[in-house]
Amino acid sequence: MATATSTLPAALETRLAYNFKLWLKEAKYEYLKNLRLRTYSVSVVVFPVMFYILFGLILGRHGDGPIRAATYLMATYATFGIMGASLFGTAAGLAAERGLGWFEVKRSSPMPPAAYFAAKIIMSVIFSAQVVLLLMLLGVTLGGVKLSLVCAVKLLAILLAGSLPFCAMGLALGYFVGPNSAPAAINLIYLPMSFCSGLWVPLMFLPRIMRQLGEILPPYHLSQLALGVVGAGNAEPGLKHWEVLIGFTLICLGIARIGYQRDEGKTYG
């Protein structure tokens, strides 16, 4: 390692250090900014936790099926939670900052635009981790969920990787919603999408037509991967779910790119 570093030209080394510091600070302050923003930091944690306590721990305690409600809903509300952290973490900030001139101030500096977007994603992933860990803690301590350490790590890893498609979706949304209407617009997509994907109430309890709709939605596929870890997934192979999620990510990134170029076109036209 030491030899590898010493062979790097000094200029490149300085440049790497400078870039590393820059990206790190961008992410750090993006996190601090949102942590202090109660509308974000409180609501993205409180809603999944509240729903889980209500439906998973209080109402679901009498369920005696092969899979206990506390276990099943822990996986689906964790999916719901990471969606909220990702969508609001990326779309709301981006829509406000590009719509009200802040992004332009940053663009006039030498900041690499990629650092700006990466910071939003990193911040969202950290919040997602907080939500997932909190739900697992509640499930294990109060819900009697049996979760081995390996399963817990696996569940966290799957959900964090699975939050990336929703970060991409948030970036795309951020380019096509207004600065002030962003939170309402996000909710209008986020809440029905969660319900139809079976994140609140398992799909098997929903009407057939909604089940069919749910099965094409990305959150359904992520929740199936999460349920697979706790032994409650359907029989479908995991690969198919990943394929859907990767495809969805690429589509969203494409839309976000169109938005970015449209914006730059407006200014660079």
Binding site: K25, Y29, K33, R36, E97, G101, S109, T267
Partner: protein, 316 residues
Amino acid sequence: MIASLEESREVRRSRGEPAAVVARLEEVSKSYGAIKALDRLSLEIRAGELLALLGPNGAGKTTVVKLLLGLARPASGRVRVFDSDPQRPASRVRVGAMLQVARVPETLRVREHLDLFSSYYPKPLAAEEILALAGLTAVKDRLFGELSGGERQRVLFALALCGDPDLLFLDEPTVGLDVEARRALWGEIRKLIARGKTVLLTTHYMEEADALADRVAVINKGSVAREGTPAEIKARTAGRRIRCITRLELETVLGIPGVIAVRRDREAYEISVSQAEPVLRELLRADTGLWGVEVTGAGLEEAFLALTQQENGKEE
């Protein structure tokens, strides 16, 4: 470095030598949809000067700044900053900008905003120095959302200083500020000039250009109407202001030859004219009861009005 820059500025001024051009627009046109923002505009910014770009709202001032920052591309013509394309990072690290922004993230502290912006530049100024220059030391630990209007403008000003730029763009820096806050920010801008920085400032406050600028470019309808020192601009137009109380209608006064603009100020009219005497003669003939006459020399405001009115062809 600072001392030598200041020295060279003094030497240059005493010799009357023109300084090197650090940024220029050559015959630049730019439209936003059907609106022509700039029409074959040419402008040079010279090292060490404060150039004020003076014009009414919608004259194209902000467009000039955006072009020089590489945030917009000209439809035709050429924009050069430090002999380079302004969109290249090499040019961006030498430039600082204070832009008009509707909302700044409110949950970061002043020092955190500065720390982040400083990380974008290879050789940033020390945090204490930026805070002192912008007069923010006392509020460095406050969240942006807790600041007053004047303090908020100072933070935007401070962000422009983070990279220790050679060239600064200040787009309407004191817009919306009260007199006290405006004068305080002028003090900070003067400190920059004393450090040998080159500054392009846009404003629609004539007083501001008069107070700060080495050179003024009056911009109207997307092109430069007149360029010169504040004194030259005033001298060239030789405008005057007549204040009087009269029973004449505003339209009648406006119809008198030589009258550029009329403004009602409580019971009196403030009449901007190119030459006072012929207009006074006409006024007294039309209204023998006219009283309370005061004639004052032109401020930059009259000069500016006269220039833009000529341009817009409203004078005749």
